[in-house]
């Protein structure tokens, strides 16, 4: 192994086993990294739509999505820029509940998550079903701050956090893989932090 002359790292003490390789713990801070201007979205006009290869394309208003059974995620999130945030809690609705209403067609294999800003990110359908993905509006008991994607964002916490679209506006079910915003701009198609799938070619 080639190591860096003089570098020992912060490795004093055991490394937290919740940290994937190459990640560090940001503690109580939460960095903000986005590629676009922060949008101002009103919950009065906010909608979330499941479209594409589904039996029943469905759009929820803010009140309608809140009427669905709530679901929480408690765990860790990992950003490709190497920070991780451990032991966080988000509450909203499971993507499973949204898809149960819209009923994906058998041909659907992938989803494109869409943001109100035009942001997109692609995911295999299997990565957003069976309790692996949520649309959330609550962070640690408070409304999700706008800079972190409020009023509502996706979270797909088992993948790098660019897959968790901020200001999410919907999911489009597709029968093929269509690279999203960062995936067209040099980042990995899948983004598993435990495999360090950061960039194209990883």
């Amino acid at each position: 192994m080639r190591f860096t002359r003089g570098f020992r790292g912060r490795g004093q003490g055991a490394r937290d086993s919740r940290l994937p390789p190459g990640q560090y713990d940001v503690g109580s801070t939460w960095p903000v990294l986005t590629a676009e201007a922060t949008p101002k979205l009103s919950t009065e006009t906010w909608t979330f739509k499941v479209s594409g290869l589904v039996e029943r394309p469905t759009t929820w208003s803010w009140d309608e999505i809140h009427a669905l059974p709530t679901s929480s995620f408690e765990g860790d999130i990992h950003c490709v820029t190497t920070w991780s945030k451990l032991g966080v809690k988000f509450t909203g609705v499971s993507v499973d509940a949204l898809l149960a209403a819209a009923r994906p067609l058998p041909a659907a294999t992938h989803v494109l998550a869409l943001g109100h800003t035009g942001y997109t990110t692609n995911l295999p359908l299997d990565d957003v079903t069976s309790g692996k993905a949520w649309v959330v509006w609550d962070y640690e008991g408070n409304p999700l701050p706008v800079e972190h994607g409020g009023p509502a964002r996706m979270i797909v916490p088992h993948l790098y956090f660019w897959k968790s679209a901020k200001w999410v506006s919907g999911l489009e079910l597709q029968d093929h893989n269509e690279p999203g915003f960062w995936e067209r701009n040099g980042y990995h198609d899948h983004g598993d932090p435990w495999l360090e799938q950061r960039y194209q070619g990883d």
């Binding site: 080639r2 960095p31 201007a37 035009g118 800079e147 040099g186």
Partner: protein, 225 residues
């Protein structure tokens, strides 16, 4: 692996590292490289740093690194690395916050956010297309301005927030709408780089000035250590 060929101070807490790569760099202005440090026990730490040098077909690139007080990688680079050291780099990375040198652009940078914009300015100047760019830089004081000897010019506006040079015409203060130059073209793309607070303020000013949201590209850097 890259070899450090030169280290020079830009300000009291920013250094530029000139690296020789094994092959000519294919980076575009605005892209970044990953620097990865590996300890003898296999522990690694990686951070992204913007390239400050323009695409010029050479095998050398310059990364300007701000020394963050508790920054694991930036502290190592600032305190340990000297010319001759081998450093693992990966890149270039990023296909969004890039300027290819052929379209009008307004660049707005705060503090170390000027680094990727400097690659764009350098590209414009070396290709004789300064007419396409305007650069507005916000710095705390003259001592905090990166590339102070090179950056001033007809394309650039410097805004000081805490202290100015003697008899500087603009009073100290945060970036405001009056600091933004008139658009050089109606379809110019704005590139904003800085802290989240700076980026939000700058994008707000651009929006107030009528810049459509889809013409604004933002690169924020957070309080990463």
């Amino acid at each position: 692996m890259a070899t450090v060929v030169e280290v020079r101070a830009e300000t009291a807490n920013a250094k530029t590292f000139r690296l020789a790569l094994p092959h000519p760099s294919i980076h575009l202005a605005g892209q970044h490289y990953i620097v990865r440090l590996t300890a003898p026990d296999g522990y690694t730490a990686s951070r992204s740093y913007s390239v400050a040098s323009p695409p010029d077909g050479s095998a050398e690139i310059e990364l300007t690194v701000e020394h963050l007080p508790d920054g694991e990688v930036s502290s190592f680079l600032h305190e340990v690395v000297v010319p001759g050291d081998a450093i693992e780099v990966r890149g270039p990375i990023g296909g969004w916050f890039v300027w290819r040198g052929d379209a009008p652009a307004l660049l707005v940078g705060g503090g170390s956010g000027v680094v990727p914009l400097m690659a764009m300015l350098r590209l414009a100047r070396r290709s004789g297309r300064s007419d396409l760019l305007r650069l507005v830089v916000s710095a705390r004081s003259p001592a905090d301005l990166y590339y102070a000897a090179e950056l001033p010019g007809p394309e650039t506006t410097i805004v000081y927030t805490r202290a100015t040079p003697p008899s500087w015409p603009r009073p100290v203060g945060r970036l405001n709408r009056g600091d933004l130059p008139a658009p050089i073209a109606p379809d110019a793309t704005a590139y904003v780089c800085g802290t989240p607070g700076f980026a939000d303020a700058a994008t707000g000013l651009l929006a107030d000035a009528g810049t459509p949201a889809d013409r604004i590209r933002v690169e924020r850097f957070g309080p990463t250590r």
